[in-house]
Symmetry: C2
Subunit: 484 residues, 2 copies
C-alpha cells in the first residue's frame, strides 16, 4: 500500500519529481541494516531544511506518520518503517551536500545527510576530523539522533560532546524549524535545547543540519595487543595505562578469546600474532596517538608505549601478562573483523550494553558461569570499549541448536541478559545504539513512570505528531487520527 | 518579614533546629557575591535529599517560593532572594559531607553542597581531580546549575561534559525525587534528563547529588606569556599551538594591556616580566601539561614548549612577536589578579560573553573603536578564554565620570554591548555565568518565542511551583498563589 495519489501529487509539488519514491525503489529504505523489513507508504527525499519543513507540515496535517532515516546503518530498527505500509520514510540522503568549515572555530556546519566518510574525507586536507570512530559509515543526522560513541570515546567522547548546534524540524502542523546553531562552545542562556534531540532516535524532531566540533587528525599512532594477567586485571591495567599515558590513550578495547578465535577462523587474511597461535582468554587492543608530526629530540611514540608497558610490567601484582606491539593497521584489522567472524559461528544475538567500568568483567564472568545451565550450547563472544564501559555482548547459537526451535527462546534469553545487566548491575540496555523498535519493550519496562510521563509531555511540547519508530510516553496521546 | 510561626515550626519538624535560620544569621544567604542584597523569608538547610524533598513538598503546598543556593559565588544574582522578603532560601551548605569514590570508573558521587576545593582536596591523594578550574570556590550543585566552564575548558570541557548523573528534587507537591544516577558514560535509553538541570539556574529542579567524571591530575606543567604579532594573529597563534601540541594544550588565555596594567598597578607582589616593563597590547597565557611523572628519555615539557614556539616563530607570517616562558605559579598569579586589578580602576561593569573563536578579537576591536564616541572615558579591560570563545568583557568607568550621574547610563551601555555581541556577532550574553536575575531581561529579549513557550512547558512538566530566581517562559503560568 502506498500513499494516495492526492498526497503523492502534493508532496511531489513540494519536493520535486526526484524528491519522492512511491513505488519501485523503496526496498533499500524499507530494509534494516541487520534486522527486519518493513513497508513504506512512500519515501520522501528533501534537499533542504525548508523542504523538510514543508513536507513535514503536509504530512502532519494529513496524519501521515513519518520515520526519519539518515544512513540507515543502525542495528535496532530505528529508521525503517513497520509492516503496516502506513508510515512514510523521510530520508536525508539528498540533504547531504552543504558544508561550511570554520577553521578558526575548529567547527563545521554540515547538512545532516552527509556520510561520516565524506565529511572526514573533505576535512582531511585541513588536518581535522569529526572524531567518532565507527565500524559503519552512517550519515551525521543519524549519528546525532542515536548519540553514537565508537572506539575512541575514551579520548574524544560521544556525538553529544562534539555537537555545538543543530537545526531541527518539529513534527507539528507548521513544520516548525528550530535554529539551534550558534556555533558556540560556551553558552548558558537558557535550556540547551539541542540536548533533547541528541540520542532520542528522532522522536522529538528531525535533525537537518549540524554544527560539529572538529579535532586535529592524529599524526603518530602506536598500538599493541595486551594480555592481562587475568580478567580481574583488566581494570588495573587500564588505570595503570591512564595514569602513565593520559590524553595519549585513544583506545582500550577488550576482546574475548571466543571473538578473536572466530575472527581468525573466518577471515584468512588476519595474522595470528600469538605464540603458537594460542589465543589468550582475553586480549586488549591499546592505542596511543599524538596529533603532531614527529619532532626532533622527542621520543618516538612506539618507544613511549614500550617504556610505559615496561613500567607496568614491573609493578607489584603486575596486571600485564604479555604485550605484542604491532602496526596499527594490522591490529585494528583484527578488531574490525570480530563482528564478521562471530556472525559465521551461528545465529547471532547481539546486545549493546554498558556498565560502570569496574562491572564489565564481573558481568561477563557471571554470564559465562550461568549460561551453560540456563541456555546450553550458547557461545559468549563479547568485545567492547572497556575504557568507557560499553560492551558488545554477542551470543552465538549454533545453527543446529534445539533452542532455535523454541519460539520463546530468544525473548527469554534477551529478558534474562538485560534483567541481569540493568536490574543487578545498574547498567544500560543500550549503550550507543539508542532505542529503535527493538528496544521499545525495554524502554517501557525500565523507565520509571515519572520519566515516561515527562517524556510524553516533552513529545507533546516538541513534535506532537507521529514521528520516528520509538514511542516515548503514551502512544494514546500522540495524534494517530486517520488520514483526511 | 519572615515566615509565619506555623511554617517555621513545621519546617523545623522536618529539618531540625539547625536546619532553619529564620531571624538572625540570614545576611550571608541574602547577599550576592558581587551585587545585590535581598531579604529572605527564611533559610532552609537540609542535610539529605530526603530532607530537601520533604521541605520542598511543604513549601510548594504552602506556596512559599524557593531560591536554591549552593555556594552563592555567582555574579548574576542567581541564588539570592529578591527584596520582597517572601522567598525562602534553600541552601545546600549542610548537604555537603557525602562522597563515594569509584577509582575503577574514574568517577565520584558527591553531595551537591560540597565545595570544589574540598572535593579536589579529598581527591588529590588518588591523583585525580574534577577538572573545572575557576577563580571562585563554589559548591558542586551551583556549578551544575550554571554549567561553569573556567580556564581549562579547552582541554577538559565544562561541567556538562563532566557530569555523569544527578539526583534532583522537583518543586511539585510531592517534592518528587528524580534519581538520574547510573554512573555510566554511555547510555542512550531515552531522554538524557540530567541535561535539563545543567545550566538552567535551578529553575527546573534542585540538584542534590552529582556523579562526576574525574581526570588524572597534571604532574608536569609548562607555561609562557606569548605576545602575538597583532590582534589578528591571536587565532593563527592558537591554531599553530593546537596543531603542534594537541591535547597537551591546557590553557590559552587572552589578556588585554589595560587589564594587565591594572593588575601590575594594584597588586605589588606581581613581577612585571616585560622588557622595560612595557606591557604589549595583548598577551596570551599558554599552558601545556602532562598527567604523568617525568620519564627517562622523554623530552622535558619546558623543552617541548620551547621547541614548538621556535617552530611557530619560523613560520611565514609568524603569529608570534615574543615569548616569555616562566614558572606556572608566577604566570597564573598575573591571570588571577586581573579581576582584582580592574576593580581598582573605578566602577566595574562586567560582561560574560562568548563568540565563535574567530570573532572575539573583531568584537573587542569594534568596541574599542566605537566606545569613545558612544561612552567617553570608559576603559575596556577584556580578558578571557580565547581557546573556547569566552570573554570577560570588563568595562571600567572612572569614579568621577559624569556618566555615573546619568540613571539610564548603565542600562544603555549594557543594551548596546549585548545587542552588538548577540545581534551582530551571533554571540552569547552569558557564556558561563548562566542567567540569574541580572540576565533575565536579556533572556526575555533574545530567546525566540517558540523556545520561550517550550521552556514554559518544560517548567510545568518538571517543577510547576516557584523555584529559583529565573523565569523561564511565562511568569503568569507559574503557581504564585498567596500562602495558605
Amino acid at each position: 500500500m502506498t500513499l494516495e495519489r492526492l498526497h503523492i501529487d502534493a508532496l511531489t509539488a513540494i519536493l520535486g519529481d526526484k524528491g519522492i519514491v512511491a513505488q519501485a525503489g523503496m526496498e533499500a529504505y524499507e530494509t534494516g541494516a541487520r534486522y527486519d523489513r518493513g513497508r513504506a507508504a512512500a519515501v520522501l527525499r528533501p534537499r533542504t531544511t525548508a523542504e523538510v519543513s514543508a513536507a513535514v507540515a503536509y504530512c502532519v496535517r494529513h496524519a501521515i506518520p513519518l520515520i526519519p532515516q539518515s544512513g540507515n546503518t543502525g542495528l535496532v530498527s530505528g529508521s525503517t518503517p513497520d509492516a503496516s505500509g502506513n508510515e512514510a520514510v523521510l530520508s536525508l540522503d539528498r540533504l547531504s551536500a552543504g558544508m561550511d568549515l570554520d577553521l578558526d572555530n575548529r567547527s563545521v556546519r554540515v547538512d545532516a545527510g552527509m556520510r561520516l566518510s565524506e565529511l572526514n574525507g573533505r576535512l582531511e586536507e585541513h588536518g581535522l576530523f569529526f572524531p567518532i570512530d565507527l565500524g559503519a559509515d552512517p550519515r551525521i543526522g543519524g549519528m546525532v539522533a542515536t548519540n553514537t560513541g565508537g572506539s575512541r570515546f575514551l579520548k574524544y567522547g560521544d556525538v553529544r560532546r562534539n555537537t555545538l548546534g543543530l537545526t531541527v524540524v518539529l513534527a507539528d502542523e507548521q513544520g516548525s524549524v528550530l535554529d539551534l546553531q550558534n556555533h558556540l562552545r560556551k553558552d548558558n542562556t537558557g535550556v540547551d535545547w539541542k540536548q533533547l534531540f541528541i540520542g532520542t532516535s528522532g522522536a522529538f524532531g528531525i535533525v537537518t543540519e549540524c554544527v560539529l566540533n572538529l579535532e586535529p587528525l592524529p599524526r603518530q599512532v602506536a598500538t599493541a595487543l595486551l594480555v592481562p594477567a587475568s580478567g580481574a586485571h583488566v581494570l588495573p591495567l587500564l588505570r595503570a595505562m591512564e595514569e602513565r599515558l593520559g590524553a595519549y590513550l585513544s583506545a582500550f578495547e577488550g576482546m574475548s578469546a571466543n571473538a578473536v578465535k572466530a575472527a581468525f577462523a573466518h577471515v584468512p587474511s588476519l595474522r595470528n600474532p600469538f605464540q603458537g597461535g594460542q589465543v589468550p582468554d582475553y586480549v586488549i587492543l591499546a592505542e596511543i596517538s599524538r596529533t603532531w608530526a614527529p619532532r626532533e629530540g622527542e621520543q618516538p611514540l612506539d618507544a613511549v608505549l614500550e617504556a610505559t608497558l615496561a613500567e607496568i610490567w614491573e609493578l607489584p601484582a603486575a596486571p600485564l601478562a604479555d604485550a605484542l606491539p604491532g602496526p596499527p593497521q594490522e591490529i585494528w584489522a583484527l578488531r574490525h573483523c570480530l563482528s564478521e567472524g562471530v556472525k559465521h559461528l551461528g545465529k547471532l544475538i547481539a546486545f549493546d550494553l554498558s556498565f560502570r567500568r569496574g562491572d564489565i568483567m564481573a558481568f561477563c564472568d557471571r554470564m559465562r558461569a550461568d549460561m551453560p545451565a540456563k541456555f546450553p550450547g550458547i557461545t559468549i563472544c563479547d568485545f567492547g570499549h572497556i575504557g568507557d564501559g560499553g560492551v558488545h555482548f554477542n551470543l552465538v547459537v549454533p545453527k543446529d541448536s534445539h533452542l532455535l526451535q523454541d519460539e520463546t527462546f530468544e525473548s527469554r534469553l534477551r529478558d534474562w541478559v538485560i534483567e541481569t545487566a540493568v536490574g543487578e548491575y545498574d547498567g544500560s540496555f543500550s549503550a550507543e545504539h539508542a532505542i529503535g523498535r527493538r528496544n521499545q519493550a525495554f524502554y517501557d519496562r525500565y523507565t520509571p513512570e515519572k520519566q515516561k510521563h515527562m517524556a510524553a509531555g516533552l513529545k507533546a511540547l516538541t513534535s506532537p505528531a507521529r514521528l520516528g519508530s520509538v514511542r516515548f510516553g503514551s502512544v494514546e496521546k500522540e495524534k494517530t487520527g486517520a488520514r483526511s
